[in-house]
């Protein structure tokens, strides 16, 4: 190959340099944030003059933060469950059946991904105002479900398309009812796709802020909404601590999914 790494000579070092720079560029903001969350400067001086765990202690002492955290978690959990369930039935419909306008329907399902989020947020706000869903947990769940569903459909229908329906036919001829064949054979086989759908659905809700700001009320706030609010009112290193925890949680989820994928490849 023309661009074999070992044949690049001096260019190799340039290439490594560029890679390293891009990596740093991507990671640096997060590293600064993590450092700030452990720094003892009230005004988020960088580099931090000293180190402390005070902001984390403040965070866990503040019931509002805990409440926002639990709210976010609850909403994200509901969104995950609903998005996977709906994504699953929708994918079976889109992949396995042949009906006129199938491609149009598929495009419609993916629409929320293409629309600017803020447009969606305004539209939902106007609609939910009439339905009196603004400021309710149900409103949050429905709004986030709209954002999560396309991701879920893409990932599950992708897995389903790669799964040969003859395998399901084989299970049926073996004596399994069509439903039993789907549950015992097809579902386990497309599990990596379902896991990815769950992960992305969770994250779509967990770190979503635009729609959430429209949905939120003083009584009910998700974590990103509260971070946004606190940032605007009083800049406190507690925000850095919260953000660090969010980054940590997301990283753990990503690592988990990577591990699952690896296991799937080996199986």
């Amino acid at each position: 190959m023309l661009l074999t790494y070992s044949r690049l000579g001096g260019l190799r070092f340039v290439l490594c340099g560029i890679g390293l720079t891009v990596g740093l560029f991507l990671l640096l903001p997060i590293l600064v944030l993590v450092a700030l969350s452990f720094g003892d400067s009230q005004w988020m001086q960088f580099p931090p003059p000293g180190w402390t765990l005070r902001w984390y202690a403040d965070l866990f002492d503040d019931p509002d933060w805990i409440f926002a955290f639990l709210t976010s978690l609850r909403i994200a959990a509901w969104v995950t469950v609903l998005s996977v369930a709906l994504g699953l039935v929708t994918s079976f419909g889109l992949v396995r059946s042949r009906f006129p306008g199938r491609e149009t329907v598929r495009a419609l399902f993916l629409m929320p991904m293409i629309l600017p989020v803020v447009v969606l947020a305004v539209a939902l706000y106007a609609l939910f105002l009439r339905l009196q869903l603004n400021g309710t947990e149900l409103g949050f769940v429905l709004a986030h479900l709209l954002l999560a569903l396309p991701l879920s459909i893409i990932s599950i229908s992708g897995a389903l398309e790669r799964f040969d329906p003859s395998i399901e036919d084989a299970a049926v001829l073996c004596g399994a009812s069509p439903m039993e064949a789907k549950i015992r054979v097809t579902l386990p086989a497309i599990m990596p796709g379902i896991a990815t759908a769950a992960l992305f659905s969770f994250l779509a809700s967990w770190d979503e802020v635009v729609v959430a700001i429209f949905m939120a009320s003083p009584d009910i706030q998700t974590l990103p909404v509260r971070i946004w609010g606190v940032l605007r009112q009083d800049l406190s290193p507690v925000v850095a601590a919260v953000s660090t925890l969010l980054v940590a949680l997301t990283a753990v989820l990503m690592l988990l999914s990577a591990a699952l994928k690896k296991k799937d490849v080996r199986a």
Partner: protein, 368 residues
């Protein structure tokens, strides 16, 4: 011994009656009728799109026929869902359940039939031994070769002792040597289990090697049904003659005024051909093709040729192991293929003038 409720024995084990299946304006199966005896190995042979797979899928219950019926022991199975038909099937593609081990795959049909753990284990062992894969019980399908996967699929399809096994081109994804090995294996399993097998293939050698009877499909119909020998020795049409084995086709003219048998057929260069029966030819048909198998033709020295021999020049000679194959250019421009067993008479050389002759009963004439 028969129980009082068994159907009378004059029912064939499997009866396919006038199956027709179309997709919109495309007719996949025009009219297929066929009786299969218990324990028989019947192959559906034909080019792709001839309706053989569709017929199999109708029997499996994945396709509904527009009309016609399928009966097992005298009872229609068309209203029984696929999973209740108790039919085994091996597919063209690899259809093992990817997340289950080999043993779990074979045990799956028994598990859905709610058999006991001990029953399943015992039966899985028997099946693994049948396909000689005992050592692979705990592997996953992805760790097996294609040939091994199809053997597992065979074991899984037979685990619940179905009376009927359908095989849809199970070897077409494998390479030649593996195909031969698995054909042997399938034959042995058929012999050991006595299961009735319907086997779809487009490979005539596979069909000839495996089957008790072959149903040769063409455009949604069975063109001819019979043993491999029947189809080879007495093809019912030009299509059958061309599909099974190699054939030489010579365009010819029929002159009925010259007699019913002798001299009625004239090759395009004017050579009269005698002794070939015109029974298969419609009365008004004046043009036809004369078919002779390459191994029915004998090469002669032009000087000592029998009467009615055709003259030609050898333009290609190739060694085929047990036989020599010659291509002989004829006076009317077409080449004929001739196969002669090696040894015995001496070999002809390229460029040599030869005379070709055959026994009249080994030639057949078909409408053009």
């Amino acid at each position: 011994m028969r129980s009082p409720s068994s159907p009378p024995s004059d029912h064939p084990f499997l009866a396919i009656q006038g199956i027709r299946r179309s997709y919109g304006s495309v007719v996949a199966v025009e009219a297929v009728t066929l009786d299969v005896a218990r324990g028989e190995f019947v192959t559906f042979l034909g080019p792709s799109g001839s309706g053989k797979s569709t017929t199999l899928y109708v029997i499996a219950g994945f396709q509904e026929p527009n009309s016609g019926d399928v009966l097992i022991e005298g009872r229609s199975i068309l209203n029984t869902p696929s999973n209740k038909r108790n039919i085994g099937m091996v597919f063209q593609r690899y259809t093992l359940f990817p997340q289950m081990t080999i043993a779990e795959n074979i045990g799956f049909p028994l598990k859905v039939r709610r058999r006991s753990r001990a029953d399943i284990d015992a039966r899985v062992k028997v099946m693994l031994r049948l396909v000689q894969l005992e050592a692979y019980a705990d592997r996953k399908p992805a760790q097996l070769s294609g040939g091994q996967q199809q053997r597992v699929a065979l074991a899984r399809a037979l685990a619940y002792e179905p009376p009927l096994l359908l095989m849809d081109e199970p070897l077409s994804a494998l390479d030649k040597s593996l195909r031969d090995e698995l054909q042997h294996e399938i034959k042995r399993v058929h012999h050991e289990t006595g299961v009735t097998i319907l086997y779809v293939t487009h490979d005539q050698e596979e069909a000839l090697h495996l089957s008790d009877r072959i149903a040769l499909f063409r455009q949604g119909r069975i063109e001819q049904l019979g043993t491999g020998r029947d189809l080879y020795d007495a093809p019912a049409s030009r299509f059958v003659a061309g599909f099974i084995g190699h054939s030489n086709f010579m365009p010819c003219r029929i002159d009925r005024e010259r007699g019913a048998v002798d001299g009625a057929i004239l090759l395009d260069d004017g050579t009269p051909v005698s002794g070939v029966s015109l029974a298969a030819m419609p009365a008004q048909c004046e043009r036809g093709v004369l078919m002779v198998r390459p191994d029915a033709i004998r090469l002669h020295n032009p000087d000592s040729a029998p009467a009615g021999a055709i003259l030609g020049t050898i333009d290609e000679a190739s060694f085929r192991g047990e036989a020599m194959q010659y291509s002989v250019a004829t006076a009317w421009g077409e080449s004929l293929t001739v196969r002669t067993p090696c040894g015995g008479t001496g070999r002809a050389r390229v460029g040599e003038r030869v005379a070709l002759a055959w026994q009249p009963e080994q030639a057949q004439i078909f409408p053009n």
